[in-house]
Amino acid sequence: VSRQPSIHPAFLLETNQFKTTTISLRFIAPFDSTSVNERALLPAILLSGTKKFPSRQRLQLEYDLLYGSEINGRVTRYGDTSIITFNCSIIEPRYLDGSIDIYSKIVELLEQVIYHPKTRKNKFVKRIVEEEKRMMKEGLESIYNDKIDYAYYRFKQVMFANERYATFETGDLATLPNVSVDSIMESYQSMIQTDAVEIALSGSSQAKELLSSLEAVFAKPWPNTSFTWIDREITKRTKPQFIKETLPIKQAKVNIGYRTHTYYNDKDVFSMFVFNAMFGDYEQSMLFQTVREKLHLAYYVQSSYNHNKGYLAIMAGVDPANEQITIDAIHHVLDTLKNGDFSDDDFQLAKNYLLEQQRRGMDSPSTLLQRHFNYNHLLGIEYDPTLFAKQLWEVSKEDVIRIANKLTLDTIYILSEDAHE
């Protein structure tokens, strides 16, 4: 399906519902696995000091004086595209006493952070770079502390072992020591010179003023490069992989991964959403009802669908003695869906649940901005709050059955207890 691109590099979603104006500033580039650490470190390094506000401490004081307008930066990945986002929300001037010009203050802060980082002789400060490298290292290591997170992390490493997706945008421990002040500068120059920039705002009509100020500083023409938002790479396997690792833990973590062969810009994605809800996305789902409520096998069991990579993951926490029976039960639930052996009620309830979720997002400025982004870039269409409901109602029971049969089991990963214990 060919779609008309309709990119808005700067816009304001006008609303009077909130006390704040929300700012999202995005730097968009093709994902490059050789600079993944640099790009993951950049937001933190930029936020650790500027020419005028030379330390994190100094910046924090500015945020706090501005009623807690903290600037956050993070890197995310959509398919083969990498995005550095700076987010910030400020109290709308109509609530304040006017003693501070909050608009010009926040523009100055963003400009300082992005265009005037603290440098020495045109290089980033080695001490800061090393400090951020250490924090990233400790952050990556601490995934191990939460065994649910750790099991899911290992599961993804195993399932996508030979794919581009296996390089996580959050950083790579093995190559982290290679990061230098020079490689950071290279990555930074590339960000400010070649990345596409999007300025997205939600706020009252007064924020138009803020939008023009931000455009004057950050806007540039949208580049001709087209970004790839979906990653369709799939490792060929003759049979699903089964991997079990052990640690001294009490509750085994079962993770199961399926390839759905369905992606965000496919027509089938709405059927996929309904299928995922019915399968394991909420408390009335068949997995939750069977594995937890009926069989009492797990304290938690949940499925989640990643629409940019097209996989579906199930996570369950179970007694180590019940690992196999839980896996059997999960397979059984999927078979039930494949055979269309579900009630009209379950089907309608799942749709209602998704619609509820959709409507709830209307009350959140950041969700609204995210949806705007998804429609605009991933789907290449204008944001339309009614589209989701329309498409959802068209999903039939047959569609759900078809989606269930499209799934292929790829990986079963279990983090279990040490046998010696």
Binding site: N16, Q17, F18, K19, T20, S55, R56, Q57, Q60, L61, Y63, D64, L65, L66, Y67, G68, S69, S89, I91, Y95, R127, E131, R134, M135, E138, E141, S142, Y144, N145, D146, K147, L247, P248, I249, K250, Q251, E283, Q284, H296, A298, Y299, Y300, G317, D319, L349, N352, Y353, L355, E356, R359, R360, M362, D363, S364, P365
Partner: protein, 426 residues
């Protein structure tokens, strides 16, 4: 209905007491899609000791019963309760903490049906003996889940070390032993004691008319049910000033060690609810200035590699207890603990900057505005202040009048109190 203006944030809160003694508070939010209703039962894990008003006979509830009751209320009635809410497009949930049990739902659809379900669920439950066993199993699984959770261990071990007898030291979930003690009789007794309508507040936030809501509620069967007076009173346990265990050192399966210190507030700082709340914010301001992101020390400790950016403090002050916890991942936990203790005991010699104090006040004000951005956070803030028994807008106004010198009594106390140190070793 009683109408109260929150001038700063341009909001109005409506309050009324229904015929059965239940207090309702309504915050209308025109334009919002989501609606939220919370039944706030002022009965949490620390409410364990009760005395009969006439006979003066004492009754002590087993640890974990509040949380167990919360689970049982989802099991009463003929149908699966969660599903009943789903069928009227509402999502229901609940939680139990030290001083409250809260049942709440949110919806973007009609309010009446789920509201009826919520009132039925909390005000007219039944306890089926055969379901008690099922819940015992589920809660045991919940134990195992938290067992591997390091954050829970940090929190629990700190409270164990600080408190000698106050029930806040016991886990909200109870223990495997106390969970096995649960039976129909004890659950019904605990329900009688804790769930009297006069001990509950119903908080409603969303796009609706308060007067219509009040009328609708008065007509609901759960409200019209007759109520017998409550015969038990909660007894506050007097906690000694001395800590229980001054120093803790535990091996855990983690990659980086944690260093923590903890302090408990004396009852002299918790005389009235508003005083307790102001002291909570004063502790927060002070700790932010001493070792928060605004401070020199925070960055110095990270530079010296004795702490990392998980360095954080937590102040929790409620009606009958209050404590402070400071914690960070650390590769040199002994050294970090020494530094932490040093900054608190020597805090009187550190001069605090007026502008930094102003920044703290501004941040507090900003977070107050931000609360009114989301239905959930509005429901949470109303819940918190209902339990604290104070008016949030009045509290913010008083906090905005604080000056740096108002921190003196907290600084004095901090310099002279006993400090618990905890290491969770990798």
């Amino acid at each position: 209905m009683n109408k109260q203006l929150f001038e700063r944030v341009h909001e109005t809160l409506y309050t009324s007491v229904l015929s059965n003694g239940l207090t309702i508070k309504v915050l209308p939010k025109p334009g919002f899609v989501k609606k939220s209703a919370s039944m706030v039962v002022k009965f949490g894990s620390i409410h364990r000791h009760f005395v009969h008003s006439f006979t003066k006979v004492e009754q002590i509830l087993p640890a974990g019963i509040h949380h167990f009751l919360e689970h049982m209320l989802f099991e009463s009635g003929e149908h699966d309760i969660t599903r009943r809410f789903m069928e009227s497009n509402a999502l229901v949930n609940a939680y139990t903490s030290s001083n409250r049990t809260v049942y709440y739902f949110t919806t973007t659809d009609d309010l009446e049906k789920p509201l009826n379900h919520l009132l039925d669920m909390v005000l007219s439950p039944s306890f089926k003996a055969e379901l008690i066993q099922k819940e015992q199993q589920i809660i045991e699984q919940e134990f195992n889940m938290y067992e591997d959770d390091i954050e829970q261990a940090l929190y629990h071990d700190a409270l164990q070390a600080l408190y000698q007898i106050h029930p806040v030291k016991d886990e909200i979930l109870g223990s495997i032993q106390t969970i096995r003690q649960m039976n129909q009789e004890i659950l019904e007794f605990a329900y009688q004691v804790g769930y009297h309508p006069t001990n509950i507040e119903l908080l409603l936030v969303g796009d609706f008319d308060p007067i219509e809501l009040e009328t609708m509620l008065e007509a609901m069967p759960a409200i019209q049910k007759s109520v017998t007076p409550s015969l038990y009173e909660h007894v506050v346990i007097e906690e000694p000033q001395k800590v229980c265990i001054p120093s803790v050192d535990i091996k855990k399966d983690i990659h980086i060690s944690y260093a923590s210190i903890a302090l408990k507030l004396p009852s002299s700082l918790l005389q009235t609810p508003i005083q307790a709340a102001l002291n909570e914010i004063k502790c927060n301001f002070l700790l932010e200035m001493l070792l928060g992101k605004q401070s020199r020390l925070y960055h110095q400790w990270i530079d010296q590699e004795i702490a990392n950016d998980t360095l954080d403090y937590l102040v929790s002050i409620e009606e009958t207890y209050g404590y402070i916890r400071i914690t960070s991942e650390s590769k040199k936990p002994e050294q970090l603990i020494q530094e932490m203790i040093h900054v608190l005991t020597k805090n009187l010699s550190i001069s605090l900057d007026e502008q930094t104090f102003l920044a703290n006040r501004n941040r507090l004000l900003g977070s107050y505005y931000r609360m009114f951005n989301r239905i959930d956070s509005m429901a949470n803030i109303l819940t918190d202040y209902a339990v604290k028994g104070i008016d949030v807008d009045d509290f913010v106004s008083q906090a905005m009048k604080l000056s740096v010198h108002d921190l003196d009594d907290i600084r004095e106390w901090m310099a002279n109190t006993q400090i618990v140190s905890l290491i969770h070793r990798s």
